[in-house]
């Protein structure tokens, strides 16, 4: 019982950290984008203000139960991902659910939320939402291929399907997997572009074309939950990448440096890229990223 309580406490702490860091990254994203575009840009805490404003909206509408619960589905995914990914290597404040966190489990739980949210978006009856959802799901099939290729390469190279196992490998050998399995890293990072849905892969929620797609009917507290979930998920994904490829982190400071460095890659790429159509995006993912993924598997088999 005590363990469960501690777990819950740890989960709350982790959630808060992830929320703050993720929101900050979102704000920094806007700031950096503005600076690149020669603007002053909003303050770095702009996302917090937006989130608070959304949560304090006096009214909200929904189109039915699934729409009502869609954000909850999304949140489950974010939090579960966060809880399964080991945040810090040796720290009792983040005990989480490290049950030898399994990569395959992660791959599937990460699709739970999008599907739930897609159901919510579907129930709105807004055609734009449905179009956005189909684009999002299609794109997901696109980037999952290099991502899985990279993960399978890691799994077969190091004979483990758990994140902690891979972290242990890095701790033991002293080299980050990013250097010992470079192709897997490249493929995984390219897949990350798709996961973040930043430009050029932002056709899912194209604001002017689709009226922001899946969330077209969502406002107020629902949007708030989605926004926080997105922030948490951003942090969780970045932490996962850091754990897998960058050797994990011993304390929060290093973690933030590493995650932010990683975050800059898709962010900066997005700033100089126009938008792909869905099928172009899918083919892009099945092109070079998958090629690197196959190279990674080859490397894993040979070495």
């Amino acid at each position: 019982m005590e363990k469960v309580l501690l777990d819950i406490l740890g989960a709350i702490v982790t959630f808060l950290v992830a929320f703050v860091v993720g929101m900050t990254y979102g704000g920094l994203n806007r700031k950096i984008t503005a600076r690149v575009q020669n603007r002053k840009g909003p303050p770095w805490y702009q996302n917090f203000i937006d989130a608070y404003k959304l949560s304090s909206k006096k009214s909200a509408i929904h189109h039915g139960v699934m729409h009502h619960l869609g954000p909850a589905f999304l949140m489950v995914t974010s939090v579960m991902t966060l809880l399964i990914v080991p945040v810090l290597s040796h720290n009792n404040w983040f005990p989480n659910l490290n049950f030898q966190g399994d990569l395959i489990f992660l791959l599937y739980i990460m699709t739970f939320g999008p599907l739930g949210m897609a159901l919510g978006a579907g129930q709105t009856g807004n055609p734009n939402s449905a179009i956005g959802v189909t684009r999002g799901l299609s794109m997901m099939v696109g980037f999952e291929i290099p991502w899985v290729l990279a993960l399978v390469a890691l799994m077969i190279q190091y004979h483990t399907t758990s994140i902690t196992g891979l972290m242990a490998v890095q701790a033991h050998s002293g080299t980050w997997l990013m250097f010992s399995s470079p192709f897997a890293f490249i493929a995984a990072v390219m897949a990350l572009f798709g996961m973040f849905r930043y430009s050029p892969f932002d056709i899912v929620g194209a604001p002017t074309e689709l009226a922001s797609g899946p969330i077209a009917e969502t406002g107020g507290k629902y949007l708030f939950v989605m926004m926080s979930s997105g922030s948490v998920f951003t942090f969780a994904k970045l932490t996962l990448y850091v754990d897998l490829f960058l050797g994990g982190a011993d304390n929060l400071f290093i973690l933030i440096i590493k995650t932010f460095a990683l975050y800059l890659i898709p962010l900066l790429y997005s700033l100089v890229s126009p938008r792909y159509r869905t099928e172009q995006a899918i083919r892009w993912f099945w092109g070079w990223p998958s090629f690197f993924g196959l190279l990674a598997i080859l490397q894993a088999i040979i070495f």
Binding site: S55, S59, A60, I61, H63, G64, V65, M66, H68, L69, P71, A72, M75, V76, M80, L97, F99, Q100, D102, I104, F105, L107, Y108, F112, L115, A118, L119, G122, Q123, G125, N126, P127, A130, V133, T134, L137, S138, V141, E144, I145, V148, L149, V152, M155, I156, T160, T161, S162, G165, A216, E217, G220, K221, Y222, V225, R277, T278, E279, I282, I297
Partner: protein, 615 residues
């Protein structure tokens, strides 16, 4: 008179009684129908355990029936799903024509499947196999004359498979002098190499047809989608598993005995993987729910085939677990489709929308099955998928795992399409009158949905019989070593404890559910799906705003090159070529007496010319 005899007699007598009682009273017919499915099911589970045998001597051949743990597992699928589908069928068939015909074949199918599972000798195996084929064929063409071609395609494929099996059986009989399966298996290593290859190939042809394995799957989408839905749920859920059952026996007990077996299994595993990918891609393209589910069945059977073709313990566990799960969720999904067909009269996604508020229970069943189908935790499908990936990776099938994963991810597309097409989207005026399906249809669906949930948390419930079945086939006990009641492990020692995951998922979900519902509860309101932000436009009542035509267009464009080639076309080409050849042969009979006389003379001359060679 063994209990097995009694069970078969009840099936047979029940089928006939059901057929004829329809002339007296429809209610009586329903009662007879239910009884002749449920009573044998009860008798089987209550009185027939592993090790029971019964014999019957026919035509100089002794037919032997018996149960082992492995066939007991499949009997669970057949009778469990069969009972559910039977209850469902009562509601589904209400008010339809030719009920007796349907019930008769339904019962016979179940009897045939049980017969296949209980058969110890090959002849009764074949007999029941053929009975299963024709009874399912008769149900497939239940819906009328438009599907004559489809039915014949199904029957021809089945017949080719079955005849290949018959050949194998008689060759085995020639070689061993016995029709017993065990003697075939024991004699297998002593056969010549060509026989070692051909006999499994011929068996696999039969099983591959039923299990809809590429490239023998072309009948499946049409047949599954055109049979009445109450039947399709066992057609896809249980009947296809007979192919899996046979495959397991052939692959595990026979092929494993020879060194070349590795390549065999490799080929089958890849065929399974390709089946999964192709089935998934085609499922995404479909606009009709039945078609979609049919292709999806093909894809899911591909996973199962891959799992059992890998042949490791974990692979077998995965394949068989997925087989059970597939029976559950695909059975439910076909029932859902049937319920919607019953209530609305169509199953086309482009026509039906927004039923979620009209058919909530059906939606819940569909949602749970879809989550299980997609392999998303915490439902049962995930456990199977997890084991499948683990087994693929640990047995060094690196590219296959990518293929499987691709199809599994792409499956989300059709999963979503199914849910969206029927339940979500605009609530159109056209369907305002739709009511929830009657309880007799909804309850079986919900029972199965709950089963999926339970199996996701406690996979041990079903892994236990699977394990004992596998031990019957010669595998070592994998309890504690690969699985526990709610834990699954892999050979590297990584394990997933499913219960805490479930609790966490439910806990977080409930928390945010409460958060969303409670926060500003009074100002949260429901608005109709006509009240959407479509650039300020107010859609009229009869204006259909639902987006469903060309639903997955972008994805289809991306994969268009892969879908240009259809195996169907090649088969059609062969069929057309044969028909014209037959037409040519037919023209030998010119209808002219003089020609015929010339034939006689020519025959005599030719035979006389070649007499030294002939005699």
């Amino acid at each position: 008179m063994e209990m097995i005899h009694i069970i078969f007699l009840i099936f047979l007598g029940g089928a006939v009684l059901t057929y004829f009682s329809g002339k007296i009273s429809k209610v009586l017919q329903d009662i007879f129908f239910l009884a002749s499915v449920l009573v044998p099911a009860y008798l089987f589970f209550a009185y027939v355990g592993a090790g029971r045998e019964a014999t019957l001597s026919l035509g100089g051949i002794t037919l032997i029936w018996g149960v082992n743990h492995f066939s007991w597992l499949f009997s669970l699928i057949v009778l469990g799903l069969g009972s559910m589908a039977a209850i469902y069928a009562i509601g589904y068939m209400k008010g339809k024509k030719r009920k007796g015909y349907f019930y008769f074949n339904f019962i016979l199918s179940i009897m045939a499947m049980m017969g296949i599972l209980l058969s110890i000798d090959l002849i009764s195996f074949f007999i029941f196999w053929e009975i299963m084929t024709w009874s399912s064929y008769l149900v497939t063409i239940y819906n009328g004359h438009d599907i004559q071609r489809i039915g014949i395609k199904y029957f021809v494929f089945s017949a080719i498979g079955a005849y290949a099996m018959l050949m194998a059986i008689v060759i085995v009989h020639h070689l061993t002098g016995s029709f017993l399966m065990s003697s075939m298996i024991n004699f297998y290593p002593n056969m010549s190499l060509s026989m070692q290859i051909w006999i499994p190939v011929m068996f696999l042809l039969a099983f591959g047809v039923k299990a809809a394995m590429m490239p023998l799957h072309v009948w499946a989408p049409d047949a599954y989608s055109n049979a009445p839905m109450a039947y399709t749920s066992i057609f896809s859920g249980a009947l296809s598993k007979m192919g899996i059952y046979g495959m397991v026996i052939v692959l595990v007990t026979m092929i494993n005995q020879i060194p070349q077996g590795f390549w065999f299994r490799e080929v089958i595993a890849w065929l399974g993987g390709i089946t999964a990918a192709i089935g998934t891609l085609w499922a995404i393209k479909q606009d009709d729910a039945k078609k979609l589910l049919a292709y999806s069945s093909v894809a899911q059977l591909g996973y199962i085939i891959t799992g059992i073709a890998i042949g490791t313990e974990l692979g077998m566990l995965a394949g068989l677990f997925l087989a059970v799960m597939h029976a559950l969720f695909k059975g439910t999904l076909f029932m859902v489709t049937g319920a919607i067909e019953k209530q609305t009269g169509t199953t086309n996604f482009n026509e039906v929308t927004g039923l979620i508020r009209k058919m909530p229970w059906t939606f819940i069943a569909a949602l749970l099955s879809i989550i299980a189908l997609a392999g998303i935790p915490p439902l049962g499908g995930f456990v199977g998928k997890w084991m499948l990936y683990e087994s693929l990776i640990t047995s060094n099938h690196y590219l296959l795992v990518i293929v499987i994963f691709f199809s599994s991810t792409a499956a989300f597309l059709y999963c979503y399409k199914f849910l969206f097409g029927f339940f979500l989207g605009q609530e159109e005026k056209e369907w305002a009158h739709v009511k929830e399906a009657p309880a007799v249809m909804v309850v079986p669906m919900l029972i199965m949905a709950v089963m999926m949930f339970v199996l996701g948390t406690f996979p041990g419930i079903i892994l236990k019989p699977i394990n004992s079945g596998l031990m019957d086939l010669g595998f070592v006990d994998s309890f504690k070593h690969l699985w526990e009641s709610s834990v699954i492990l892999n050979v590297w020692g990584n394990h997933v404890v499913l219960q805490p995951i479930l609790y966490w998922i439910i806990g977080i979900f409930v928390f945010f559910m409460i958060f969303l519902t409670w926060k500003g509860f009074k100002t949260t309101r429901y608005v109709s799906t006509k009240d959407i932000s479509s650039s300020g436009e107010v859609p009229a009542d009869d204006e259909n705003l639902t987006f469903s035509v060309g639903f997955m267009q972008p994805f289809m464009r991306a994969v268009a090159p892969a879908m240009r080639r259809q195996i169907d076309k090649y088969y059609n080409g062969i069929a057309d070529g044969l028909e014209s050849l037959f037409e040519f042969i037919r023209r030998i009979y010119t209808g002219n007496g003089q020609t015929y006389t010339i034939y006689v003379i020519v025959f005599v001359v030719i035979v006389l010319l070649f007499k030294n060679i002939l005699f």
